[in-house]
């Protein structure tokens, strides 16, 4: 590669990386500045963080929202990983014609837009008196065709010999799954964990419909509520956005390496 091209490549990467980071940097700075300064375009961290935090907790029930989001997303992620990996493993390891047909039908569910099923689902859960419950929030996302597909693809790389050997040793089928399969599929589970946790944490439309009280509020709803006043306090708003973003960013950094590995396994 010529030198000019190489420089061009790096310049392109630098510009694109800066553009990717800038809005996040802006958010972090704005969270520590007064609303007026944010509007003036101040781009250095300020000293107004505590005041912004005070107005945020005075304005919204932050602790409640954080706890709800954290609890809902964690429980949902654990259930989703369990159910989808069991199903993906089942489809691959015990596959036969009937199961393959069921799998193909399941994949079509991927194309069902959420807008198309939210109304009947809302009616269904209200008839069952489940509005404002964590279960109603979780149920639609515990089992997703995408996750099942991802685990099925990953199961392909799980050697059949291990299964046979374990059977010889007298391990039960469910024992093989938990003792052999789960430990070897760490990167797939990490990728699945990131995707599911982020989706659950960031989900906005369904909680907005099914969780309607102040007691059940989640972080994205809280952030959205910050706009409801007559004037927008940008410092407070951006602090809310920052607090809402931190947990997913931490999860991402923590599992980043296995995430890319897991996706690589799934795309194969």
């Amino acid at each position: 590669m010529s030198k000019g091209k190489k420089i061009g490549m790096y310049v392109f990467l630098i510009i694109f990386s800066l553009l990717s980071i800038f809005p996040l940097y802006y958010m972090a700075c704005a969270a520590t500045n007064m609303s007026v300064d944010v509007s003036r375009g101040r781009l250095i961290p300020g000293t107004y963080l505590v005041e912004n935090f005070k107005s945020l907790i005075g304005n919204q029930n932050l602790g409640r929202a954080l706890w709800n989001s954290f609890r809902n997303s964690s429980v949902l992620t654990i259930l989703c990983l369990l159910v989808c990996s069991l199903a993906g493993y089942g489809f691959e390891v015990y596959h036969d014609k009937a199961k393959d047909i069921v799998f193909t039908i399941l994949l079509t569910a991927m194309m069902v837009p959420f807008a198309a099923i939210m109304i009947p689902m809302f009616r269904m859960f209200s008839q069952m008196k489940m509005v404002n419950t964590m279960a109603a929030f979780m149920l639609p996302s515990i089992s997703t065709p995408f996750m099942i597909m991802m685990f099925r693809q990953a199961s392909r790389s799980f050697p059949k010999d291990i299964i046979e050997a374990a059977r010889m040793d007298g391990l039960s089928e469910i024992g093989i799954f938990f003792r052999m399969f789960v430990p070897t599929m760490k990167s797939t589970y990490s990728a699945a964990l990131i995707i599911t946790f982020m989706n659950a944490w960031n989900n906005y439309m369904w909680p907005k419909i099914i969780l309607q009280t102040n007691e059940t509020i989640t972080m994205p709803m809280l952030v959205s509520n910050l706009l409801s006043g007559y004037t927008v306090d940008y410092g407070m708003l951006m602090l809310g956005v920052l607090i809402c973003t931190l947990p997913t960013a931490i999860v991402f950094f923590f599992f980043q390496k296995s995430f890319t590995e897991g996706i690589t396994g799934a795309v194969k």
Partner: protein, 292 residues
């Protein structure tokens, strides 16, 4: 022995069904069943819970509804402009990052993927604040001696902001998929092409794109699907405004069912229309993907 083998196979078959039962039942209950319900609902009319059978009158109403046509236009406008730009950028970035001699690979990848860590509501707020009348972008414009733009007061500039925001949020996400796909391609293929004197453009069109076809197809379908269901951005970034000029279909359906006097039947009919469009586009994309 033969008989024992037979029963073993049967037992495994049954255990297999048990393994996948919970997942399958849940998907049937929370996807397929509501879908059928949505179709039945779309044949009914009335406000709130007082629903009467109305045949296809809801679908006839869609054809005459200017708001629906407007939201349909907006959604497809976002789709046609944003998805190709985003996927091209993602592909270019991925092939640059796949370069063996590149330094600081992890750093670039992390930076470009980072926007994906923000929730849809969060980044909508960030862009809303950046492009606000007294926001950062206008301050910069003023500083450069240009006239500030009232971004959210004009339909086209508001749509522009939504598209910029979408590209910012999703390019890195798609890039990761391409990067993973590229890592499955043996690097010696690229070495051979380089020795044969292939240009960067030739390598892209003759090697990368054909070999990445399944991944490109996957990202195209998921992006199309996602754009047709756009909701959070429409509600939080522009609130559909000015007027209803940036409102998406999902946002309109939400408003019809939960904001104004609820009309579940009409909303369900509109959602069935989205379902059909998603399905048609997916089939077209798969056909095109197969032929090339």
């Amino acid at each position: 022995m033969g008989k024992k083998k037979m029963t073993m196979d049967r037992r495994h078959n049954l255990i297999g069904w048990l393994f996948l039962s919970v997942g399958v039942v849940l998907i049937c209950w929370t996807s397929f069943y509501p879908m059928i319900q949505a179709f039945i609902l779309s044949m009914k009319n009335g406000l709130g819970v007082n629903l009467k059978f109305a045949g296809f009158s809801n679908y006839a109403r869609i054809l005459k509804d200017p708001t629906f046509k407007g939201t349909l236009f907006n959604t497809f406008f976002y789709l046609i402009i944003q998805v190709p730009i985003m996927l091209t950028l993602a592909l270019v970035l991925a092939s640059i990052l796949n370069n063996k001699d590149l330094k600081f690979k992890g750093l670039w990848r992390t930076c470009i993927f980072l926007p994906c860590a923000t929730s849809l509501v969060s980044y909508s707020m960030i862009f809303r604040s950046l492009f606000a009348n007294d926001g950062f972008v206008n301050t910069m414009l003023r500083g450069l001696g240009m006239t500030p733009v009232m971004w959210f007061a004009n339909a086209w500039t508001a749509r522009f902001v939504i598209i910029i925001a979408l590209i910012w949020r999703w390019t890195g996400y798609n890039m990761v998929f391409y990067l993973s796909g590229l890592q499955n391609i043996d690097y010696s293929v690229y070495e051979a092409a380089r020795i044969d004197g292939a240009s960067a453009r030739q390598t892209l069109f003759k090697i990368t794109i054909p070999l990445l076809k399944p991944t490109i197809l996957l990202t195209t379908i998921t992006s199309t699907n996602g754009t047709l269901q756009l909701f959070d951005e429409s509600l939080n970034l522009t609130n559909g405004g000015p007027g209803k000029s940036t409102m998406t279909m999902s946002h309109y359906i939400y408003n019809t069912s939960f904001v104004q006097s609820p009309n579940f039947g009409y909303a369900a009919a509109m959602s069935i229309v989205i379902l059909v469009m998603v399905a048609i586009l997916a089939v077209i994309q798969m056909k095109v993907g197969d032929e090339r």
